[in-house]
Point group: C2
Chain length 470, copies 2
Amino acid sequence: MVQATRLERNEAGIAAAVGILKQQFGDRFQTGASIREQHAHTTTYIETQSPDGVVFPESTAEVAEIVRICAAHKVPVIGFGIGSSLEGHVNAPAGGISVDFSRMDKVLAVHGADLDVVVQPGITREALNVHLRDSGLFFPIDPGANATIGGMAATRASGTNAVRYGTMKDNILSLEAVMPDGTVIRTGTRARKSSAGYDLTRLLIGSEGTLGLITEITLRLQGIPEAISSARCSFPTVDAACEAVIATIQYGIPVARIELLDAMSVRAVNLYAGLGLPETPMLLLEFHGSAAGVAEQTESFREIAADFGSTDYVATASPEERNKVWKARHDMYYASLQLRPGCKGLSTDICVPISNLATCVNRATEKAAEMGLMAPVVGHVGDGNFHMLVLMDMDDPAEIAKADEYVGWLNEMAIEMDGTCTGEHGIGQGKRPYLMKELGQAVDVMAAIKHAIDPDGIMNPGKIVPDMSI
Amino acid sequence: MVQATRLERNEAGIAAAVGILKQQFGDRFQTGASIREQHAHTTTYIETQSPDGVVFPESTAEVAEIVRICAAHKVPVIGFGIGSSLEGHVNAPAGGISVDFSRMDKVLAVHGADLDVVVQPGITREALNVHLRDSGLFFPIDPGANATIGGMAATRASGTNAVRYGTMKDNILSLEAVMPDGTVIRTGTRARKSSAGYDLTRLLIGSEGTLGLITEITLRLQGIPEAISSARCSFPTVDAACEAVIATIQYGIPVARIELLDAMSVRAVNLYAGLGLPETPMLLLEFHGSAAGVAEQTESFREIAADFGSTDYVATASPEERNKVWKARHDMYYASLQLRPGCKGLSTDICVPISNLATCVNRATEKAAEMGLMAPVVGHVGDGNFHMLVLMDMDDPAEIAKADEYVGWLNEMAIEMDGTCTGEHGIGQGKRPYLMKELGQAVDVMAAIKHAIDPDGIMNPGKIVPDMSI
């Protein structure tokens, strides 16, 4: 595990807040070591920093009460969805209270004619789509993990189909949030667009719980497409695959998903699911639309792929066939572990302009090989976003240090190539040094906003912006 | 003209800044009465409040220098694009310096493979599209007026094709801005998505120059569609037209434009362009896509429209036919003036959930009739956004007061119907009372951000947030 910065603890304040929360929330406030550790443990490579207690509110009013108690005693407040974040977002480097939203997981209203839904933050995206199944509507954002909608909003998540449907920032109409003084605000209405003042909705999306706790979310929905089909094809090189992606986007083919697996990822998928795919760079696509539209998209892409030397082109509208290969893609994390039994994976993400993508992927894989690291690539390449899953022996400090060095190099390369150190995972604790390299003095503006909204620095300290004392 | 609040002037500071700017910018700093008035005069119904001088910078460094001079003397700074804003955005209620971006109108880079372009703020959307013509790409946002990209960013503009391509917030990748202390920041990179820290890009979009001056914009572009066609049809009632719109959106037909004209607007268009259209509520659509896709969309919409009782359905792929009716729609402001010769128009905008649209339009037209006001309706109805153009005798104070009362009533109705007091025009001076009604305590958060970023309140004072003393 990579060590994380520790911040000073306000012991007296924490003790006082813990006492009050125990009294007010009874069994819904827990301080056992294992539950506390669970609420710091995420799929991250950063060491666990447990909160001092975990509270399970059931309403916005209760969240506001918790925040007011913590504010009065200057105690950190850390929002918790399902714990699938990757950059130490839910760690408690100064201790404090984890606010677990699992009991706030209701669908509050479905507005079918308006294609929107109002939900509490603790609902997962899969549970939401199960709820919506009979409405003919769905919520498209799919970051892989079955994350909560609140967590996805807080990290500005996206995933495989952002190329068609956008990211969380594009799919939220309005938020309700509890601010650091316990005030409850609403950032917008159900209108599909608005020019009414500063865009607090977008300010809170991606703020990782450092400005307030999101307690209600109004999401845009999409009609379930009449037809879905998928295609896959192999390419001799990453460059050829990326050229095909660029042409596909330029021709305006409205692909719903376009994913790159490098040769090593294809090998992992073969080991995991026995698919027998050619072990060269592969693109995996999904098309949504009318039956005729999907057929046209599929054919247009086939022609483009052929122009760039694709082989082994397979398209299918069969849900079973489609699911087989997409399931392998979704299980990529576990599939990759097959490449090196006993290892764990460090998933990192960068995003660059698509014209720099092939160069970036090639350099990244060459550098990993040079450093003796095994790191398959998967990418949401329609957006220029890709992940390296560095396979590590978590008991070998030298290897952890090497992986950490590699991730640093990767982030800096992305920034040099006019890209970002995180396309979708967020800054958390892990990417703070690179945020400064990427955006420079803009980070001072972020810090000024943080200080204005949360002057005591109680909201998820140690994340995104430079540390303030509590 | 409706009176606007006056703010206290810092006479000594203004005199000092004017002196320095004269010296440094020579002919590129102007203080003549008519040029100053021009820079306050917009297509608004709010009285003109002129700045004390107008400066024409040619680079970001010059903008930073201007802001530093004004900051040192606590003098207001007001950004100016082309003056097409509608809510008094460029007025100078405390005097100060208008920064005219007309000399910063360059395209700095076109990245064809990445579908993005880097521009200076003073370029107009039409000039940008002329520049892009041979690239096969275009910038889709069309607010009607030939506004500057900087102004469109500052007001979070949108317009007729937002239903397909989104608003300015969805089409900007990154901004460069001069902050109130003269610091130059960059809010993002050319990556198509990012989770790197607070979304300062979206915070500045729609901030109407109250947080900083936008000096460079990286825009997303779209491929020019292979085929474009348009359709129009008439409906017996506004309700029937709105039901057809809801069904069109729900079926996922990717319309590029879907506009409503009420019977009075159709009459105006007939008077203006002699089109002889049936004078009942009309929908006007545009479809973008492949030839087959556009044909399919057109046919699907025709069926939906028929289900809701449409008559006089006409579809065309001929550019001439298409342009004739769309030109009339674009000239709606001038067309409406035909309804009452000698009058002027007060254009106001609200946006509601689409399920409330028909009720909202009906109530709005009934209320106008009750009050003896003539006010045709045009709407970007795919988004639930519509405009009333109140036709007024600008020399009749009683009528102006009545129009003002009507606009207030309209904004409050939109807010009651879970909508917003402005879908695309912005808050400026005109809509400030309604912002508070719409978002309540969230406006305090906006004020805290404003105060943190612009503690002396020099950036476009009197707009959006409550007044601060300078």
